[in-house]
Amino acid sequence: MFAFTVKRILQALFVMLIISLLGFSIKHEFGDPIRDMVGIQVSVKDREILRETMGLNDPFITQYARFLKNAAHGDLGTSFFYKKPAMHVILSKAPATIELVFASSLIVILISIPVGIFAAIKPRHWFSRIAMGGSIVGVSIPVFLTAILMIYLFSITLGWFPSYGRGETVDLWGWHTGLLTADGLRHLIMPAIALSSIMLPLFIRLIRSEMMEVLETEYIRFAYAKGLKKKRIWFIHAFKNTLLPVITVGGVQLGIMLAYTILTETVFQWAGMGFMFLESVQRSDTTLLVAYIIFVGGVFVIVNTMVDIIYGLVNPTIRVSGRK
């Protein structure tokens, strides 16, 4: 298990290196730090001198090495719009996004597992039919449309939930959380549901089809032949095997969910990283864009590495091949 974990971490570092190379290339080609720093009054000649002293005329490799060295210290450059280190900007926006993704994941897990299992065990039940039919509809409607429809229905027509913003937040050692106030939670409900609207049907369908496949295997039949109770067969024998592919897909989907926050946050004016990303595209804030890409890439890699390690804990076959 230890060797397996170390191997996974080394792979993760390698992937991060590639992401940073891509990110740096974007910045190198499209960004102009001089433009970000100086006003229009500065002459072309002064700009060239500044360019030379900042090392911007150095070869690509030298500059990339410098970029990596700084990145290793957590310095991904300075946002020209915010006039602050890009990392600071991202970190100040991160809690809003993390809370949103967390709430959405919670919705997905709490609903998809019981519904998926039920639909697999009783495929002909009316509830299963409705869940399956509904999931096709859910998966086909884009997130931003769901979000806009929800605002129309629940905010404008019924007036149940606020339509934008995070509401009242509490400062918890530098982390601005909306989870601790009633107002913050009220603001969180609609964006969280909108964000989960794509993943939820996907997971219900995934869990259902995996579970149905497992229920047809010989070892489930053998479990019946042993005279085990149905509940034990469903929840211990079948569900544990269903979990393996679901964990793998779950890791990737968590990353995709992070990407979908761009749409959800924009519609709900949610002051998170996704909203910030779209703003920085409009402002051509290249440094912040690249910092965001590397940061999100890092989150992706960390999540998937953790998923691999968790997968190893659930699946004994993987564990052994790591030990060898």
Binding site: T217, E218, Y219, R221, F222, A223, Y224, A225, K226, G227, L228, K229, R232, I236, H237, K240, N241, L244, V314, N315, P316, T317, V320
Partner: protein
């Protein structure tokens, strides 16, 4: 002596989209306590369906359409799901064909053994583990204490089949149904597993139904044989009588097809044609298109079982045996 298992006029049907097909047709069998019965036939003869119908585990859309199954004098074919669950893996155990597929890959051997005990008996986890160890030792698994925490993939095929046999022994059942227990194993291991089964049946006084396509194996293990063809028992009797003096042309063909009965240098014998599919079983005798002795009557009239030897109970469903067709 009261039979431990008595199957009377059993019909098993499959409700397919195109209509209902009959997989088991009017099957009657009985098994005495401690007796070892072999069910022989080609793939598709309905052997496994017959085995699983006893514990009501036929795959959907199959169902018992007619007839009754008595176990220890009780009609278990009328049992509710919960009542039959209490019999499965408790009084009647099953050994599956492929040991690589029958164990759950994500649960330890210990879990898969103790849960089978705890499903039927009121005892603590420690007591259940003690029984599991005892049974693992009984099927000659070395160092059983170390095995309980291991997963199925850490065992070879032969070892896994031993574990499955150990699981089938956990509750000291009255009857074991072994569905092709050695088909997926190496020949050398086949003999070991079969010897183990005979040894255990004799020492524990258990009855055994051995389902196989291999007449050679059956002749070494069982005391009585039932030969199945297209869902019916076409010949039944003491193992020795059937091997030495087969009555039905199908049984004769099966024996002739054994590699042991071939003349060296000659190609292996095979029965011409194929077992009919359940959707188009020919009228008359189901075997008639493949039968070398076919007569007029075989195409029109279905033969009923007739005694070949009343003294030993050797019966065959063939017009040659009943005397309707002169040989």
């Amino acid at each position: 002596m009261e039979p431990i298992l008595d199957i009377k006029n059993l019909d098993v049907k499959f409700a397919l989209r195109t209509g209902t097909v009959t997989a088991i047709d009017n099957l009657s069998l009985s098994l005495a306590k401690g007796e070892r019965l072999g069910i022989v036939g080609e793939s598709g003869a309905g052997k496994s369906v017959m085995g699983f119908s006893i514990i009501n585990l036929i795959r959907k859309p199959g169902y018992i359409a007619n007839g009754s199954i008595y176990f220890r004098g009780e009609e278990i074919s009328r049992y509710s799901e919960e009542e039959i669950r209490a019999i499965r893996g408790n009084r009647i155990s099953t050994i599956f064909q492929d040991p690589m597929m029958a164990l759950n890959p994500v649960l330890t051997i210990g879990t898969q053994m103790t849960e089978a005990i705890l499903a039927h008996m009121d005892m603590t986890q420690e007591e259940a583990e003690r029984i599991a160890l005892e049974k693992l030792a009984k099927v000659h698994i070395p160092a059983p204490e170390k095995r309980l925490n291991q997963y199925p993939h850490e065992f070879s095929g032969g070892m896994r089949q031993r574990i499955i046999i150990a699981i089938s022994l956990l509750t000291d059942p009255d009857l074991i149904i072994a569905d092709e227990p050695t088909t997926a194993l190496d020949v050398t291991i086949q003999a070991e597993i079969m010897d183990l089964l005979i040894e255990l049946c004799e020492s524990e006084g258990m009855s055994l139904i051995l389902i196989t396509h291999d007449l050679g194996v059956v002749s070494e293990v069982t005391e009585r044989i039932a030969v199945m063809y297209a869902g019916r028992v076409i010949e039944t009797g003491p193992t020795e009588a059937i091997i030495k003096n087969p009555q039905h042309p199908y049984t004769q063909g099966l024996l002739k097809a054994l590699p042991e009965s071939r003349t060296p240098g000659e190609p292996l014998y095979q029965i011409p044609g194929m077992m009919p599919t359940l959707t188009d079983i020919p009228p008359g005798c189901a075997f008639n298109p493949r039968c070398p002795m076919r007569g007029e009557i075989c195409i029109t009239k279905r033969p009923e079982a007739a005694f070949a030897d009343e003294h030993t109970g050797h019966m065959a469903a063939c017009h040659l045996v009943s005397g309707d067709l002169a040989s």
